[in-house]
């Protein structure tokens, strides 16, 4: 391909995606596409009950079915010390149940067979005798003194409490509340939902019986961390474990944890000596793997007479299910929920959270957000709107009055974050202008006179992403840095190897653009590789919008390091002193004599053929980037809805999104990320729900019950940007993958509430179904 050397397609170019060529031809390589010689298939028997003691398990009929190779139970796993495994939050989780089942869908036994259909047939032949126990579905009931102890196997565990965690200054907050002219409170429940990537989770475990080497293909967003966890869990030597994440069909946090199925499949392959494939079906994915949210939140703001916020107080109950297996940094038990002061200059704040065990699936992953930022953003943005109504101020004006000002950055929040940069007024004003806010308020008045219900909802979110500085952020002690290894070959083409792992974000294109920007090698000449732990440098993976802030930064830094070396080689070739060489867009030239030029390609060749005496040959390097701070993307979303007063149905008429994620690498891909997040945010606000009946049966166990937005009801989006670079990131980027899921649910809900606000309606819980809106209308009239 002819390359245009005059224009390097680095930052800011909407380069078409390199990865698309295989996907549009049906030539992606997802986990279920992997077939190995002699491969067996595993199916998992799951508990039909939410809480029950296991009296006995009879596997004899299943084992006798022709084609069945093995039936694995907790008892067998226990013989290898693998019946339990550590979670990412310093708890333990049953791999296969031995004593009790603690949620519906819990793994009880596994069948390994020659054929996947046979494996499922055999599940029906396993006979488990259960003694039912009270299922604890309501976390408040789980806290009662007479509630059965779910984790009775844990030494010293006398109740269902997991943790108590606080942030901020309680005394200062109490003091501010005692002086408040007005206090406004909101109780709201962010319901359990599920990331539900279109591809479920799965693995192919291949333990070589001769060498003991375990190659595990896995839908993992964090392959390196998984390798280390596997070494710790299974006691396998880490150099003998190779995790390969192939193409991943969406992750959204669901593919961060280590699931029992991975451990059983690997153990089975080890014991049988043949590869074992395990692919979840959709129901297994929804009822047993990493859910999200499930936070019962109480928030209140103290206001002065003029409508300034003096303090914020939040208390929150987190329903974590049967095992505390949240994937989040060690120090922060409720993730980064303490970003709950949001975009506002709030002098005092206090956050208190309690985690509770219930008889529900464990997991607590961040569904497309950075460790519980979504719940925080939802609470503050709903609370802000409620407060505005209560003091009779327009919600936009109330926000503008209380925003952190652009001259206050870096801004130290009352809960301990140092916000890197922002201009909240600018983003908000752009959103108001684009949606025509003042005009809309007039239209709303007219509509109300005609008996129509029009609502305008705003949300001005601030995220905290890009974990993180090693001093504060680790998972199981592994510091949350990330990496990039760049090898520039003699012909001037390059290969870039990353510690992160795309699940659709387009790393193969965007990371090549970073190299293009820094070294002047065109993106099509940079092959990006990730996901194979044998062939990429260590990193913590892709989630929490951290790829660009960490691995992207590492890519820029290693490129700059190679550029410095390349400059010396260029000086050698140009026969001038190092300091007389300048670099611009892939060209090294002599200061004051721009026609004396060596291209990066010339220099790359020389790095292997004609390098200065005493210099190490080659043009390769690796960098492990420990960010100095988190990044803080922000924006304002504005939504217009119309509510049908007779049916409660609501329809989004317009959705304007202003995002500021700092410097954008590939505007096309950024916009795509925002579209996706706005859609998932809409799904959460309108329809996505995992709930349980009183016996702990999961409702939302398939895509007929767990509703996802289709093209038909998904709103049409109008996207805009402001650009406030991160001052500490090498090229000013902040990360964008999750902004829209974090920010948009509150905007949609605020719009529906706004349509009904004049009737006194202040809250409707998500998902905001037409039935709930109709009920609210009936109650208000």
């Amino acid at each position: 391909m002819a390359t245009d050397t005059t224009e390097i397609r680095g930052l800011g170019h909407s380069v078409k995606r390199k990865e698309d060529d295989r996907f549009i031809r049906g030539k992606g390589n997802y986990i279920d596409d992997i077939k190995l010689p002699g491969m067996l298939h595993m199916a998992i028997l799951r508990s039909p009950m939410a809480h029950a003691r296991i009296r006995s398990i009879d596997t004899s009929k299943a084992a006798a079915l022709p084609g069945v190779v093995a039936v694995v139970t907790g008892e067998l796993m226990a013989q290898h010390n693998l019946a339990w495994m550590p979670t990412l939050s310093y708890d333990t989780q049953a791999v296969l149940a031995t004593d009790k089942v603690r949620f519906q869908g819990q793994e009880v036994a596994a069948v390994i067979a020659e054929d996947p259909y046979l494996a499922k047939d055999a599940l029906e032949l396993i006979d488990v005798d259960y003694e039912p126990l009270e299922a604890l579905v309501d976390p408040y009931r789980a806290l009662a003194a007479d509630a059965p102890v779910i984790r009775d196997e844990k030494e010293g565990q006398k109740d269902n409490r997991i943790y108590h965690w606080e942030a901020g200054d309680k005394d200062a907050t109490d003091k501010a509340f005692s002086k408040a002219a007005k206090v406004v409170a909101l109780d709201t429940f962010y319901p359990r939902c599920h990331p539900a990537p279109l591809e479920t989770c799965g693995c192919v475990a291949d333990v070589n019986p001769a060498t003991g080497r375990a190659t595990i293909y896995m839908t993992s967003q964090a392959p390196h961390a998984v390798r280390t966890v596997f070494a710790l869990v299974a006691g396998l030597p880490e150099e003998n474990i190779r995790i390969i994440s192939p193409d991943i069909g969406g992750g959204f946090g669901n593919k961060v944890p280590v699931y029992p199925g991975y451990v059983v499949a690997t153990a089975a392959s080890l014991l049988i000596g043949r590869p074992v494939k395990w692919i979840e079906d959709r129901t297994e994915n929804l009822i047993s793997t990493g859910f999200a949210r499930d936070y019962h939140m109480h928030g209140e703001v103290a206001l002065d007479k003029g409508g300034r916020i003096l303090a914020l107080r939040v208390s929150m109950l987190s329903d974590n299910g049967a095992f505390f297996s949240d994937a989040q940094p060690t120090k922060f038990k409720a993730g980064l929920f303490h970003i709950v002061t949001g975009s506002y200059d709030i002098p005092a704040a206090h956050v208190s959270t309690d985690g509770v065990y219930t008889n529900k699936a464990p997991g607590g992953v961040a569904y497309r957000c950075s460790f519980r930022v979504t719940e925080a953003s939802y609470l503050i943005e709903r609370l802000i709107q409620t407060a505005a109504y209560e003091i009779g101020m327009d919600p936009a004006e109330f926000r503008l009055k209380n925003f952190i000002r652009s001259d206050q950055f870096p801004y130290k929040s009352a809960t301990g974050f140092e916000y890197d940069s922002g201009d909240y007024h600018k983003a908000m004003n752009l959103a108001l202008e684009k949606i025509g806010y003042d005009q809309l308020r007039k239209e709303q008045e007219r509509a109300r006179e005609e008996g129509r219900l029009l609502g305008i909802g705003l949300a001005s979110f601030t995220e905290v992403v890009g974990a993180g500085p090693h001093k504060d952020y680790d998972i199981l002690g592994l510091k949350m840095f990330d990496s990039a290894e760049l090898r520039v070959h003699p012909t001037g083409k390059a290969i870039l190897k990353l510690g992160v792992k795309s699940q659709g974000q387009g790393h193969e294109t965007t990371f090549a653009q970073i190299v293009a920007e820094e070294l002047g090698i065109q993106p099509e000449d940079v092959l990006v590789q990730e996901g194979d732990t044998d062939n990429t440098p260590y990193g913590l993976g892709t989630y929490a919008s951290r790829s660009t802030p960490t691995s992207g930064a590492a890519t820029a830094v290693v490129s700059r390091e190679l550029r410095e070396k390349a400059k010396k080689i260029a000086a050698h070739l140009l026969e001038v002193a190092d300091e007389d060489v300048e670099f611009e867009k892939g060209r090294f030239f002599v200061k004051g004599a721009p026609d004396r030029v060596k291209t990066i390609q010339d220099v790359a060749l020389a790095a292997y053929t004609n390098f200065p005496e005493g210099m190490q040959p080659g043009l390769e390097g690796v960098h492990y980037y420990d960010p100095p701070n988190m990044t803080f993307p922000f924006g304002t979303y504005a939504v217009v809805v119309e509510v049908d007063p007779d049916t409660g149905e609501w329809k989004v008429l317009r959705m304007v999104a202003v995002d500021d994620c700092g410097v954008r690498i590939n505007p096309m891909i950024v916009e795509g990320q925002i579209h996706g997040g706005l859609t998932e945010g809409y799904g959460i606000a309108a329809m996505e729900l995992i709930t349980f009946d009183e016996s702990g049966n999961c409702i939302g166990a398939n895509f007929m019950d767990y509703l996802l937005p289709t093209a038909w009801e998904t709103p049409r989006f109008e996207t805009f940007e402001t650009v406030t670079p991160s001052p500490h990131h090498p090229f000013g980027a902040k990360g964008v993958g999750e902004s829209a899921t974090v920010g948009s649910p509150a905007a949609y809900v605020n719009a529906v509430i706004d349509a009904l606000a004049h009737l006194g309606v202040r809250n409707i819980e998500m998902p905001v179904t037409s039935a709930k809106v109709w009920e609210a209308l009936q109650a208000a009239q």
Partner: protein, 164 residues
Amino acid sequence: MQINATVNGTKRSADVEPRLLLVHLIREVFGLTGTHVGCDTTSCGACTVLLDDVPVKSCTLFGVQADGRSVTTVEGLARNGQLHPIQAAFKEEHGLQCGFCTPGMMLTGAALLDRNQEPTEDEVRWAISGNICRCTGYMNIVKAIQAAGKAMREEKAAEPAPTT
């Protein structure tokens, strides 16, 4: 049971269990892994293929139901090494991210364009409402299908004589 079907223009036969799902016949027996399984309940459309040119969810049909019929999968969209306009448009308009829904989405889109090369936005959205995408928010998928329609209209206009 013995089945004979035309898959992407090639005659294929297989001896399969009656309960084998069409999606598994395509993926496991014929080795065409571009057709994906997303939900098992006909809800998501990742497994969409064309059966006698009509989009169907292959996770809720049996393989034997394809006997004597023609099946088109994503691997059959390109002809003679030339991408189908919908494939080119999905890349050009950034109509895909993780790529998992893409084969089904393109086949549904191609079937729509077969009968209507100038669909409105609503017509496109309605046509693909049985195909779920978790990544893109559909905006660029709609654009891609409309752009492919435009390309097909232009291609047709440029043809010297109608083909039979």
